[in-house]
Amino acid sequence: MEYSEKVMDHFMNPRNVGVIEDASGVGQVGNLKCGDIMKVYLKIENGRIEDAKFKTFGCGAAVATSSMATELVKGKTLQEALEVTNKAVMEALDGLPPVKVHCSCLAEEALHAALWDYAQKNQMEIHGLKAPVEDIDELHQNENED
């Protein structure tokens, strides 16, 4: 197992670590199976993500994908933000070792959870966004088979 240089860069110098006190949306998801947790804060103004921050309890890949995902969504519209999938995050990081693919799902799900929180608070619907689940591992059961 070896991480790419990009992954190591985002792990060693993670962007956007922290909290947004008056966040427009907050999402927290956990992978009950491997025990990892990620929390995302979004600041949204005029339908655009002005700022994003995260906190993550997880491996190098979990930290790096959190960092990259928050970087990617900044400045995007809500609809565009949905396109920041785990696949997109992984590609932006030059890939992940096969056993670490599930960590990237954590980032996608946390982002979606924060968007969902925002939509709930503002009684709106974001096209294509579903309610977050408790244990994201159920969603991605079969993605990391060897």
Binding site: D36, T56, F57, G58, G60, V99
Partner: protein, 393 residues
């Protein structure tokens, strides 16, 4: 980054200088097949028997009770499957523990699929089995007790002599996986009533890919590898003379130096343990405080994850290991840490630092200086730590 401070000696050790020098002639000069009659083969034969003697001496066995294998895993498999098959008409029950190495646990699972029953003894919060529990799980059909000498993760040393007595009293064979113990703590198979014992070269300054199994004279063991007549027909295959010479030398050296080296390591280990516990809040020692391997330090840091710690340590040239699910590739945290009762989250944040002869006081001081910073950096990123801080405020 290059590794400057290696603190993962429980995973593997570098080959010692003296061992390296001892094995070198057996690749190109004394390459003869020990089973042959001509001159160059006699050197191999001699080296083989000398190493057998060195290994036997190191654990209080007779020379003819030592059989060379390719490592600890093979020895463990051979002990369990070999005794199980040899005694299958006598019984089908095996007693072991929940904290064994996978070489034992997965072999037990295989045996369970093939008609054997296995009792996995739980351990207390320090990782020790309870002797009464061991004795009360003995059944008429119990044929083997297999309890590891010392645990590879948390370093806890089992009361092996007491286990041996119980096994002997009930006429049951006793195997111990001593892969982490040989060369590190005193072992005497006679006095401790051990019938079978596994060891591996690369855990005590010997080469990788070589190991041995001690089988008390008269104990029936079905071979795992059939073929030529090597190792008195108990283990086929052209002998790995260089490896065997290396194992013999490593055991000899480690035994001779044990008392001095243990004193040195205990000092370093306890400095490391108490230093970390003092400097880092929400940290706890895993394993027994005193009945533990002299080089083992295993500490859990709440609210953070192990692999991240390892990466940050690697970035400053320190090699260590963790029981985190994220490093195991299996999505489950260490079964040993779970067995001593750690919650998932805490098992995740475990760090194992294992010292050996290569480590100095300077190493310990460097690590002691860096670990609090690393833990803090990760806690600052952790949503779990945030909750704790918020609650307190």
């Amino acid at each position: 980054m290059t590794t400057k401070i290696y603190m993962d000696n429980a995973a593997t050790t570098p080959v010692r200088d003296e061992v390296f020098d001892a094995i070198l002639p057996y690749f190109k000069e004394y390459y003869g097949n020990a089973s042959s009659v001509y001159s160059i083969a006699k050197e191999s034969k001699k080296a083989l028997e000398k190493a057998r003697e060195q290994v036997a001496k190191g654990i209080g066995a007779k020379t003819e009770e030592i059989y060379f294998t390719a490592g600890g895993s093979e020895s463990d498999n051979m002990a369990l499957r070999g005794v199980a098959e040899a005694l299958k008409t006598k019984g089908n029950h095996i007693i072991t523990t929940k904290i064994e190495h996978h070489a034992i646990l997965h072999t037990c699972e295989y045996l369970e699929k093939n008609g054997y029953e296995v009792t996995y003894l739980p351990v207390d919060e320090f990782g020790k089995i309870r002797l009464e529990e061991l004795e009360s799980s003995i059944r008429p059909e119990t044929i083997l007790i297999s309890v590891m000498f010392a645990n590879n993760e948390i370093g806890t040393i089992q009361p092996v002599g007491e286990i041996g007595k119980i096994a002997e009293k009930h006429g049951i064979l006793f195997h111990t996986d001593a892969v982490q113990a040989v060369g590190h703590v005193p072992i005497h198979v006679e006095e401790m009533k051990i019938d079978l014992l596994s060891m591996s070269g690369h855990k005590l300054g010997g080469p990788k890919g070589i190991g041995a199994i001690y089988i008390r004279k008269g104990v029936p063991v079905q071979p795992l590898i059939f073929g030529g007549a090597q190792e008195k027909k108990k283990r086929a295959g052209t002998e790995n003379i260089a490896g065997i010479v290396g194992l013999g030398k490593a055991v000899e050296l480690a035994t001779a130096e044990m008392s001095v080296e243990t004193k040195r390591l205990l000092h370093l280990r306890d400095q490391l343990i108490s230093g970390i516990l003092e400097k880092v809040p929400y940290s706890r020692l895993n394993g027994h405080p005193t009945d533990r391997l002299p080089g083992n330090c295993n500490i859990s840091f709440s609210y953070i994850e192990g692999e991240s710690m390892l990466l940050l340590l690697d970035a400053i040239g320190v090699a260590a290991s963790s029981g985190s699910a994220c490093t195991s590739g299996s999505l489950d945290p260490s079964h040993v840490l779970m067995a001593i009762g750690l919650p998932h989250g805490v098992a995740h944040g475990s760090l194992r630092l294992t010292l050996d002869r290569g480590n100095t006081e300077e190493d310990v001081n460097f690590v002691l200086k860096k670990i609090p910073e690393i833990v803090q950096k990760l806690r600052d990123m952790s949503p779990l730590y945030e909750e704790i801080v918020n609650k307190k405020a």
